[in-house]
């Protein structure tokens, strides 16, 4: 294991050899059951996608607290709000393209404006959903939730973090959006890795350049950093799992100390993590930036890894962004 990895995060030992591969959605599925055990008020709503959103275990464990909505995402958001007003802690769940995409206005008014304690779960997020094609690849969900007042936006990085996040968000009394992917991805954190909403975690120390990443791209960033360390480039990697409220302090510090930033996300370049970081940086400590993201186009069918590669959403894409930004430093 690389010496630059920040010890306090107890990352997986096998991270650069053969990390375990588990879908982040499994973490959600297990986490929401834990949350349900801890709090009787936790209820789950789902729009005819119980299995693939990983709500089947919750349904099995708490049949009376599982509500089948059918294919009606707008109604789900409103019912969620009503349940929250009556003291429940509803997790409303569908694919990220439809939830928050099909019910955005309901999330805005019934949930965010009203401070309804609803947890919005966007499954199958990102292009890695693969063969289903562009319509099912949520690449704008961060943009359309980040702009909503009162809403916390979380993009956990792997199985463990998704599980911990599901448990943590059940404990706060405010609306949350969380997105996670369908495919197996490397498990880079461990049971011991601390997780705190709103804090960006510096997984890897470095002084030449910073990569601020979220979701599955954190792993790719670590791999990119490892590669570049061989050429003597010292890359800091920040896991920015909470997109909103964003951890300004950690980002400003990184800008000041490393003087260049690359962002990496499985999302459109406009409106996502890259914009969130550019907003903070330009306002506090302007440094050159590069973005690893979807460059304002729709996705397409293909295998997840083929697509991540095609659109440069991998360690290779991050390496070239780093090289580019270093030239501008």
């Amino acid at each position: 294991m690389s010496k630059s990895l920040n010890k306090k995060f107890h990352l997986a030992e096998n991270i650069f050899d053969s990390p375990d591969q588990v879908p982040a959605r499994n973490g959600y599925g297990e986490g929401v059951v834990e949350a349900g055990k801890a709090d009787d008020n936790v209820v789950v709503l789902c729009c005819d996608l119980t299995e693939s959103t990983r709500n089947a275990d919750f349904k099995e464990a708490f049949p009376n607290r599982f509500i089948e909505i059918g294919i009606a995402e707008q109604n789900m958001a409103g019912i969620g709000a009503g349940l929250a007003f009556a003291g429940k802690v509803p997790f409303i769940s569908s694919y990220a393209t439809f939830n928050p995409g099909r019910n955005w206005d309901q999330i805005r008014v019934s949930i965010c404006y009203s401070m309804a304690n609803v947890k919005i779960m966007g499954a199958h997020a990102g292009i890695s959903v693969g063969p289903d094609g562009a319509t099912h690849q949520a690449m704008e969900d961060i943009a359309i939730t980040r702009c909503l007042p009162n809403l916390t936006v979380i993009v956990p990085t792997d199985y463990w973090e998704t599980k911990k996040a599901a448990i943590a968000i059940a404990k706060i009394d405010s609306p949350v959006y969380m997105r996670f992917g369908r495919e197996k991805i490397p498990v880079i954190t461990t049971e011991k890795t601390p997780f705190q909403i709103g804090r960006a975690d510096t997984f890897r120390n470095g002084k030449d350049v910073t990569v601020v990443a979220c979701g599955s791209l954190v792993y790719e960033a670590l791999v990119a950093a490892e590669k570049l360390s061989k050429s003597g480039i010292d890359v800091r990697v920040i896991n920015c799992h909470t997109i909103k409220p964003i951890d300004e302090k950690t980002i400003i510090k990184a800008a000041n100390e490393t003087g260049a930033i690359v962002t990496a996300e499985e999302h459109q370049v406009h409106g996502g993590l890259g914009n969130a970081v550019a907003e903070v940086v330009a306002k506090n400590s302007p440094v050159p930036m590069e973005y690893v993201a979807m460059m304002d186009r729709f996705g397409e069918s293909g295998e997840p890894n083929e697509l991540m590669q095609k659109f440069g959403l991998d360690s290779k894409g991050i390496v070239s962004a780093i090289e580019k930004v270093l030239k501008r430093k």
């Binding site: 059918g70 409103g78 969620g80 007003f85 805005r108 008014v109 009203s114």
Partner: protein, 308 residues
């Protein structure tokens, strides 16, 4: 006169009970409620004139329903608006919130003098209801059709917790153009939420004109029936039949009052006119309206309202 224990049981063909109607209301009560409706209308006129914008027609047209609900049907406590076992009302056609604000003021949820702050900077009476801003508001609203789903969530929560409170929700007829309404109806129908009562403000207008020109809803009763509701067609200005309709207990189904109302009711020059959907009266018009309402009250009203 019927006393409060008189119950009419409706039997199905197989002699099993299908529902009950409680016939408990006295003439004096009806008069009180009618008078209260006029008070609410007066408040609405005053608020809207002061605000300089807002929705007249629907607010006036539904005042009798609001009076009936908040002063006879609903179990609630204005001094304890968060009482756990209260009945809850959600205004899905939230643009007519002046009538809700007026009703809450008359019921004592907040000082009546605040009604003149409607739509002004810093007011608790936001242009469209903001949950949390004012006691008694069960939901925010504005974008049409969101309230019915929220109400369904409240009803579902009561079902899960085996509570006995009732959930009431009003929707506008124009509002029924929205798909979310039908999603919610399917859900409520599926779950047979008989703690849920929907009120359709069937006033036949929406912004661009008459509903049957803009986006026809007829045969609306058939539509609602086919979505699993017990439909009661009712005159939205006849408080006695409103009470009977609200009190009728249906054991197997959610219930909808298809309430035929006159938009602008109580103010002659506003009645039936779509153009008053979203317009406030100016000073002169308000005075005219108030004098009409006063006449209405002095004719029928032997009771002075204690909240005045």
């Amino acid at each position: 006169m019927w006393n409060s224990n008189t119950v009419l049981i409706i039997l199905k063909k197989d002699n099993q009970p299908e529902g009950t109607i409680i016939l408990a209301v006295t003439d004096t009560q009806i008069e009180y409620l009618e008078d209260m409706a006029t008070h609410i209308r007066e408040d609405v006129i005053i608020m809207l004139e002061k605000a300089g914008s807002g929705h007249s027609a629907g607010s006036l047209g539904t005042a009798d329903i609001f009076s009936t609900l908040y002063f006879h049907i609903m179990k609630h406590d204005p001094k304890n608006p968060d009482w756990e076992d209260r009945d809850k009302f959600v205004l899905s056609n939230a643009h007519i919130c002046p009538v809700l604000y007026a009703t809450l003021a008359e019921a004592g949820y907040y000082p009546k003098k605040e009604i003149t702050t409607l739509r002004k900077l810093g007011s608790r009476l936001q242009g469209h209801p903001h949950r949390g801003a004012l006691p008694g508001l069960e939901a925010s609203g504005g974008p049409l059709a969101q309230g019915i789903s929220i109400a369904a969530g409240l009803a579902m929560s009561a079902r899960i917790d085996e509570k006995r409170n009732r959930i009431f929700c009003m929707v506008g007829d124009g509002e029924m153009n929205e798909g979310q309404i039908w999603e919610a109806l399917l859900f409520i129908g599926k779950n047979r939420l008989h703690n849920f009562t929907l009120i359709v403000d069937r006033n036949n207008i929406q912004i661009d004109g008459f509903t049957e020109d803009v986006m026809p809803l007829e045969p609306l009763k058939d539509k609602l029936t086919s979505f699993g509701f017990h439909v009661i067609e009712v005159d939205g200005h006849n408080i006695r039949t409103l009470i009977e309709a609200f009190d009728e207990t249906i054991f197997e189904k959610p219930k909808v009052l298809l309430a035929h109302t006159i938009p602008g009711k109580g103010v002659d020059f506003m009645e039936f006119k779509p153009e008053w959907h979203g317009k406030p009266p100016n000073k002169e018009e308000a005075e005219k309206a108030l004098s009409e309402l006063e006449q209405l009250r002095s004719l029928g009203g032997k009771i002075t309202c204690e909240h005045e």
